[in-house]
Point group: none
Chain length 118, copies 2
């Protein structure tokens, strides 16, 4: 959860809750409840302050990254980036890719997975 990631990053930066509170202007009681996931839906202004002081992109705070325990599952790793570069170099457009995604999604919905074709 986001609280876990905030705490993890804060410890990586060798920072206490009080120090983070001082630098962000957010009271430490709220930071404590965020880190312990008692609060789970902070506002964007709160999160931007935290990500700025912790020097980490918002996306990395919000979602698991490769550095977390679950790596490369659901996240974009170098292989995907290579494929995207290859696609753009081949002249494939975003619209074409969007259509491809839609078609694959529709395939999965229409037919349960049983087809085994090469």
């Amino acid at each position: 959860m986001i609280g876990d990631r905030i705490k993890k990053r804060r410890l990586e930066k060798n920072m206490s809750i009080s120090q983070l509170a001082n630098k962000t202007g957010i009271v430490k009681s709220y930071l404590s409840s965020l880190e312990r996931s008692l609060q789970k839906n902070p506002s964007i202004q709160i999160l931007e302050k935290i990500s700025h002081v912790l020097e980490i992109p918002l996306d990395s705070l919000l979602h698991d990254k490769a550095s977390d325990s679950r790596s490369s599952s659901g996240s974009i790793d170098d292989e995907w980036l290579c494929l995207v570069r290859e696609a753009t170099n081949s002249g494939i457009t975003k619209e074409q890719f969007q259509a491809f995604i839609d078609s694959k999604s529709n395939e999965k919905r229409k037919r349960p997975v049983e087809r085994k074709d090469g």
Copy 2:
């Protein structure tokens, strides 16, 4: 402001406030007040729903692209990353994507270029 960017992106996607409300599950009155900057500090869950449906990274919603983005022509920009996330969320594998790229490349090679533009 963030409301301006939400509206701009919504219009780019040819979507009304009511349609965006239906897809995000956020009431249109709140979306309207966000776009008109009557509300300026939405929660992260609200913003994630909006950015997901509008297919735009959070950072692009939060900040002007010109001032923040490092993307340049030819490289992978935020929209591509968004599409890739959508693809992985749909269960599309790298192998499937690679096959798609190959098929598109072969399509282009099989059909000789008849357009003479320049």
